[in-house]
Symmetry: C2
Subunit: 120 residues, 2 copies
């Protein structure tokens, strides 16, 4: 675990602070990969709705058991989409008893928001 590579998870790298608004200056080359990964995660209709449900959930978290029945696709596919969101750094997951709860990561959301703000 002392290798020169990245011991931190992709999600953590993505959550790192970064970047002036798009309208002001070009994105640093090193930040492109992580940021585009986050946008890609939001670039699917199901995942965008999942993110919406998670971010607006009462108490800041929501159970997978409340997410799954809101869609007409299989539970395995929901699980797959949640994994994509998690790996992009947009959400975290915590298991409590039999259930898994997801939370939004406001830090990365704030970054993406600031990046796109044309009035900044």
């Amino acid at each position: 675990m002392s290798k020169s590579g990245s011991p931190v998870a992709v999600a953590d790298r993505n959550a790192a602070a970064c970047c002036a608004p798009l309208a002001q200056s070009r994105i640093p080359k090193e930040a492109v990969s992580g940021l585009s990964q986050a946008f890609k995660a939001l670039g699917d209709p199901i995942r965008l709705q999942l993110m919406s449900m998670i971010a607006s959930a009462d108490g800041g978290e929501i159970c997978v058991c409340d997410l799954t029945p809101a869609f007409e696709i299989s539970g395995t596919t929901i699980s797959h989409h949640l994994k994509v969101l998690k790996e992009s750094g947009l959400v975290t997951a915590e298991r409590r008893a039999s259930w898994v709860y997801y939370r939004a990561r406001p830090d990365l959301m704030r970054q993406l928001s600031a990046l796109l703000d044309p009035d900044a």
Copy 2:
């Protein structure tokens, strides 16, 4: 052109005003498709860099001839990516003389930014 369907282009639909911040309430079902399309457009490293160059360009616009040499991929692929950005509503294109100039659409950028703002 009087059919009940949508006479307006996809890009125009996407540019329509919409949606409270994610952290406040769920995205209306009708808005999901257009919004996820915009995020998907930003979800590719090349396109995110293109968007960055366009949005931060001096005078608010930039020529394709200035975009292409910044990448190591073919001109046809750049053209394809610009088309995706245009169809998502994030940019507009205008031909003047031999050259084509791209501009960012601040209205849609502002929408996406507001949607992701966790502090709104």
